[in-house]
Symmetry: C2
Subunit: 359 residues, 2 copies
């Protein structure tokens, strides 16, 4: 038993005083088995005896063995990394934090790590994706800001890189995604505003290159039609514009003779600017104008209870996206990895605990 390996190698492990992390060799030495057997036993390979398997796994657990990621990666190419590709110009508002938390939570029970790969909106969005694929630095990728015809989707599909998108595409390529149903959202929003008697609606839309621009806009148009309402075009502002820009554009819009009497807003932060602009122009929310807004944080109602909101659970989106990439990596069927999150009902502000309310 003692002569099967060169003595000096075992010495390291036998000394025991050292605290360098245990490797397969450590376990091999402790169990008297070969490194290959240990490797196999740990991954429940069929050609290992049940007794041996258990013994190896017991020892591994006892000494706190963890496979060396670099070793595995070098040998197999498997990185155990999911890359989240992020636009660093992204508007504030907690959106990204929640996405990251959601992904992290889903990844916590797995051997996967989350690495954030940034890019600037001004540069080519394909660039970071190409980097990840070319350097094989992740087993799967999550992207957002999905476009109807998205070259990143095409690229990763061609290169066989598993991925999931936050948002859908319309390019004849089937892929894993999670999306919020923005069509349903704006339909509900318009319905609410119609019920309130509003007639002339404006939409604070996403930038027109993104997929969900079309969903939100189509839902908006469909619902306007259905309720016999008209649209006041508001193309000078999108949720991507700066808060300052949106506010200014809103002021201008509200000073026009054909101003809207209601808004549907595609993003919480944008709604702050909308409200500010509307009020700066001299109108009042809930009276002159109604607004339905999507929000991912719960802040809007605190300062403008007159708003109507629909909450988007971005943390859930993160978890779903993680689930989806992991599924693709495991080779699961795409159809099972596509999810659409239906908006909850439009919420008005509920007056809090009984007592005096604001004057």
């Amino acid at each position: 038993m003692n002569d099967k390996t060169p003595p000096d190698e075992n010495a390291d492990q036998a000394a025991g005083g050292e605290a360098n992390p245990p490797t397969l060799k450590t376990i091999a030495f402790m169990t008297g088995l070969g490194v290959t057997t240990v490797s196999r036993a740990l991954k429940d390979a069929p050609e290992i005896g049940a007794a041996t398997r258990q013994r190896v796994q017991l020892v591994a657990r006892q000494i706190g063995y963890r496979p060396n990621r670099a070793g595995v990666r070098l040998r197999t190419g498997k990185t155990n990394v999911i890359s989240l590709v992020l636009d660093t110009e992204e508007q504030v508002g907690g959106f990204v934090s929640d996405l990251i938390y959601g992904i992290s939570e889903a990844l916590a029970q797995t051997p996967y790590h989350l690495v954030v790969t940034p890019y600037s909106r001004n540069n080519d969005p394909l660039e970071p994706v190409r980097y990840v694929v070319e350097t094989a630095s992740a087993d799967g990728v999550i992207i957002s800001r999905t476009e109807p015809d998205d070259k990143r989707v095409r690229y990763m599909t061609e290169r066989g890189m598993p991925f999931a998108t936050h948002g859908r595409t319309h390019m004849g390529i089937d892929h894993a995604f999670h999306d919020f149903d923005n069509h349903a959202y704006s339909v509900e929003a318009v319905k609410k505003l119609a019920a309130l008697g509003r007639k002339r609606l404006a939409l604070l839309a996403p930038p027109s290159n993104l997929s969900y621009y079309h969903h939100m806009r189509d839902g908006f148009a469909d619902a306007l039609m259905e309720h016999g309402l008209s649209e006041v075009p508001f193309p000078m502002a999108t949720v991507d514009h700066s808060i300052e820009d949106i506010r200014k554009q809103t002021v201008e819009l509200m000073r026009r003779p054909n101003r809207p009497d209601a808004f549907v807003s595609g993003a919480g932060a944008g709604t702050f600017a909308l409200v500010a602009g509307i009020e700066e122009a001299g109108f009042r929310i809930g009276q002159d104008v109604d607004i339905v807004s999507k929000q991912s944080s719960k802040l809007l109602h605190l300062l403008r209870p007159q708003l109507y909101v629909v909450n988007e659970d971005v943390r859930l989106a993160g978890a779903e996206l993680a689930r989806a990439v992991l599924g693709r990596i495991a080779g699961r069927d795409i159809a099972a990895l596509q999810s659409l999150s239906k908006p909850k009902a439009v919420e008005a502000y509920e007056t809090p605990a009984p007592g005096k309310s604001t004057d």
Copy 2:
């Protein structure tokens, strides 16, 4: 030249049709040099001739050589990874996004990747740090929610893991950090409120286990003293509490006979709840009560121009923290890697472009 390496190995490279990424061996074959020489030439080792060095580097650049991370990591232990340890219960408000963007930007020009290592506030904060250290899965760590006597700091110092903290400690261990000067912040805030004629101030403080609780509180106390003002204790709410909790506690506080006539708030999201609570209790910002708030997004003024704000640049903090860990990894002196961000002046709302203002 042809007989120095086994023929089959070169065949791979010579075939050329394959698109597998170039390695040192590829360059070695192309230049006719040994792998060792190539490795050395690429890192400007002194024992390589100038001509050879240039030739190798030229070829490497031409064929787009990138060192295989797994190979480097396995051999040297260097991961080229910075781990950002995050509390996933963190309040919304864009704070974390900006931190990540700041770090990402600073890391973009380096070979470092950013991995997000999450933990729940309810579990042991040391746990994720121990994981990173034990598995040597990063070359450096960034932590937030720093405590005066922080066991993570002690642990990483003992184990020789380079790190930087967002926030300072007071435990006799010198280490890299970046911090916002919350002492100065609350001094300025109180000064502002004193100038407005406020007398009875309350503080929406951080949780008392965090370092910046003490800074903010001390600055608050010092300034109260200096201006001869008094404090209305408000210990039932901290910036860590949920929006809902803060709102409720604020309502209660404002209904007491000894209610405050001003607040200093340690966080933007908390301020939303403060405002809501104050107004729900029937008081008005700017009239019955004044508030000075820190904020990392620019949303507060949009809906309550009466607020006074101090902006905290969290993106900058991220960049500074990245700079600091990288410095530690490079062995730079700790003293050069400690930075404190002074608050800008307290800002009142500037009325925007000339025109009608809100009624």
